[in-house]
Amino acid sequence: MTLPILLVISSGLFCIGLLAALSRRHAIFILIGIEMMLAAANLNFIAFWRFGPQPAQPTGMMVAIFAIAIAAAEAAVGLAMVIVVYRHFRSTNVDQLDRLKG
């Protein structure tokens, strides 16, 4: 268990999350992907804290906790939006949601 391996794992998680967010059509998948990326970031925080020069100061941990809290809030709002969108369009496929098109 070394820092580089942890970092590679977290980058792997991040990229899988990215993959989900970019490639899937379903809005919920995009949310899942985003959550995954956030989790990967959290993993980095913890890892750097643990391997860092000052592990007695749990700064990395605190950031991770806050990130989890914010991610939870984001998930709640995001899922609420999915439901609303579904009611409007009867679809959760993001490809059909291009009202922002210029």
């Binding site: 990229c15 899988i16 970019l22 059509r25 709002v77 679809s91």
Partner: protein
Amino acid sequence: MSTVAFAVIAILTLAAALAAATLQKLMHAALSFAVMFVGISAFFFLLGAEFVGLVQIFVYIGAVAVLIVFTILLTRDDTGKVRSFNWGGVIVAIAVFAGLVWAIAKTKSLPLTPSQIEPITVQRIGELLMTNYVWPLQCVGVLLTAALIGALILVMEEKS
């Protein structure tokens, strides 16, 4: 021992993540998603951040995963209607991964062994939250409240 555990957890987590990202059925994906979070929590435990691991399990598996499942049920949209898969995303994801790994490999003097520490107790975290991090804590509290109310309003609006 810890190395074996680490390897198992790593493989499990990544496999679950991949499953969550690629499985066709949303419900399966959601379950894999929960498994992945268990894996991440396990990492946290291994790294000595037990509290964060617990929080992760509570929040994600107890709340977010359940929320997702509920949403799936509410929208009755279990399978993605469009089966086609977007390869552009794959390319980008792989590119980003390669870039990140290259950056990691190129970075020298990354510490290889964790430093020995005393376990961080929940009490200490609580103290910190109430002292040094009290402002962020309050802000997160407000944020959570706002998010809760906002989510409710979003969902309720249609009914009225």
